[in-house]
């Protein structure tokens, strides 16, 4: 195992905290009177129970796992928790991106079957759900952690 690195622990804790905050905000906005709020490239909340409540609950749990494991992320129990937290954020972000791809391969209303290339790419313009914004950070942490452990021969 590598020697504990405070920087990595802090980054993991920060991403975990951001996940908890974004997930909780999604649920609160969904439950409140607003349909959704845009903050920069991020869209918070929406009308869909499945995505904004169930999905956000998973993001909150993912963030909590990352926070719980951050202090001991170079030991086995902490490492597992952080990896599981990363996987949970990855699942929500990944399925959000998959949904975008599936929705935008076909053309909308009309006689054509396939969307144009510009139409398809245009669908990936911001704003993004929080899990998609958190996804690159979570993946970097997950990959670094996994690679570090693989180097250790585990």
């Amino acid at each position: 195992m590598e020697a504990p690195c405070r920087g990595a622990e802090l980054v993991t804790a920060a991403v975990g905290l951001a996940a908890v905050a974004c997930g909780a905000a999604n649920i609160l906005v969904w439950a409140g009177p607003y349909d959704g709020i845009e903050i920069g490239i991020m869209a918070i909340g929406g009308p869909d129970f499945f995505r904004w409540v169930w999905g956000s609950l998973v993001v909150v749990f993912g963030g909590v796992m990352m926070l719980a494991g951050a202090r001991q992320m170079h030991a086995v129990p902490g490492y597992g928790k952080v990896l599981l937290g990363v996987a949970m954020i990855g699942i929500i972000g990944g399925t959000d991106i998959f949904a975008l791809i599936c929705e935008n391969i076909p053309a909308g209303e009309g006689a054509q079957f396939f969307n144009s290339a510009t139409g398809f790419i245009g669908a990936f313009a911001p704003p993004y759900p929080p899990a998609v914004v958190l996804l690159p950070f979570a993946l970097v942490i997950g990959c670094a952690l996994y690679a570090g452990r693989a180097d250790d021969g585990c």
Binding site: W54, L83, L84, A87, A99, E103, I105, A111, R149, C154
Partner: protein, 404 residues
């Protein structure tokens, strides 16, 4: 043979030296994740994430991409107009049976064997079944499903089952036919009876879910919530009422593994082929029989007869009798038929729940017959009682909320 104790131990040492490898055991990533995913504190959030992924991928692929994106355009834009133009004599009986309504603009409305039948089978249900079984196979082969069984064990014991009952329950979300077969893995007659009854009542199949997502997307969440509540409440009641034991079991939890592509492809092909050969003929036959029943006036007569029960007790329009009859042949078709009946949102929720709980489809019914006539009769008795009680309760909730 006269080995002394020392000689026996020497023999043991000799065998151990040749067969046992010694070294330092270290937890792999799979071991760490394997442990965390069976502990309730970390395992339940993981289960929530896995099931979210399951349903999200199911909806995105089967709903948004294949059915909404391509199949509706193909069937409504090309196949239906071509059939309506090419089939001779729009006023004839054969036109009504095979093509359906000559003025229909969508395959859902047409309700002919070669229009709605083919659209439902290949445009809606096949993609839903394909992606469902793909996800199911991946969960099974990766080793996650036994962990889910361990997690669910305590909860399922409350309704007289054990953790592995989660396998038929999830399988039932694809198709109730293999799910009924999977109840054989349960230990006692009591457990098999409870699971089979709950499957027939409260687990909508993939075909039905696919259609529900297609025609009543806004009410699917409420329908599933009602079914989940019914599953737990009636499971609890059945476990108290039915005599028999509910033994503890030991679950073998394998290590996590990457699913093998060849195995996944083979399982997926076998299951999809099973759907194509077993379910598609039922869909086509179902539409044909329902159309004949409409033509002969039988459904109209039955609707009049059952109207007081449906309107007063369940709070749904009397026209829902037709779809409920069709539900015995295919529940997915019945939901599609409901979409064409004008009613309020709450009536739609009640009607879809009723279709789910009212009777198993004919393919599931045939499987239940194979499991034994006594069990089947008892299950039908329970089904009838539950439909009356639960259907009435949902109506009562609607009245209390002021929406029914």
């Amino acid at each position: 043979m006269g080995l002394t104790a020392d000689e026996r131990w020497d023999l043991v040492d000799a065998i151990a030296q040749r067969t046992v490898a010694f070294g330092i055991s270290r937890q792999t990533t799979g071991d760490v994740l394997g442990e965390l995913t069976v502990k309730p504190l970390t395992g339940i959030p993981t289960a929530l994430a896995v099931l979210y992924a399951f349903w999200s991928i199911f909806g995105s692929f089967a709903g948004a991409l294949v059915t909404d994106g391509f199949m509706i355009k193909l069937f409504d834009g090309y196949w239906l107009p071509w059939m309506q133009a090419a089939w001779p004599d729009p006023g004839s009986v054969h036109y009504f049976l095979f093509v359906g309504d000559p003025a229909a603009e969508t395959c859902f409305e047409a309700f002919g064997m070669l229009t709605s039948g083919l659209f439902v089978s290949f445009g809606v249900v096949l993609p839903a079944i394909f992606v469902f079984y793909l996800m199911m196979t991946l969960l099974e082969d990766s080793g996650y499903l036994p962990r889910l069984a361990v997690l669910m064990d305590t909860l399922l014991h409350k309704i007289g089952l054990h953790g592995y009952a989660i396998v038929p329950a999830i399988l039932g979300l694809g198709c109730n036919v293999p799910a009924v077969t999977a109840t054989r893995t349960l230990e006692t007659k009591k457990q098999r009876f409870i699971m089979m009854t709950l499957l027939a009542l409260f687990i909508p199949c993939g075909a039905q879910l696919g259609i529900m997502l297609q025609v009543v997307p806004d009410t699917v969440g409420w329908v599933l919530l009602y079914l989940l509540i019914g599953f737990v409440v009636f499971g609890y009641v059945l476990s108290r009422v039915i005599p028999g034991s509910n033994p503890e079991i030991l679950i073998d939890v394998p290590p996590y593994r990457w699913p093998q592509r060849a195995n996944v492809a083979k399982k997926l092909w076998n299951k999809t082929r099973g759907f194509l050969t077993n379910a598609v003929p039922f869909v086509m036959l179902g539409i044909l029989i329902v159309n004949i029943l409409y033509l002969t006036g039988f459904i109209g007569w039955l609707a009049d007869l059952a109207a007081p029960l449906f309107v007063t007790w369940f709070g749904v329009p009397k026209e829902t009798v037709g779809p409920l009859l069709a539900a015995f042949l295919r529940k997915d078709l019945a939901v599609a038929q409901l979409a064409t009946i004008p009613m309020t949102s709450y009536q739609m929720i009640t009607a879809v729940v009723l279709i789910s709980i009212y009777f198993p489809c004919v393919a599931t019914f045939a499987m239940m017959v194979r499991e034994g006539p006594r069990q089947l009769l008892a299950a039908i008795g329970v089904l009838a009682a539950v439909v009356l009680i639960y259907g009435g309760l949902i109506h009562a909730v609607g009245i209390l909320l002021g929406v029914a």
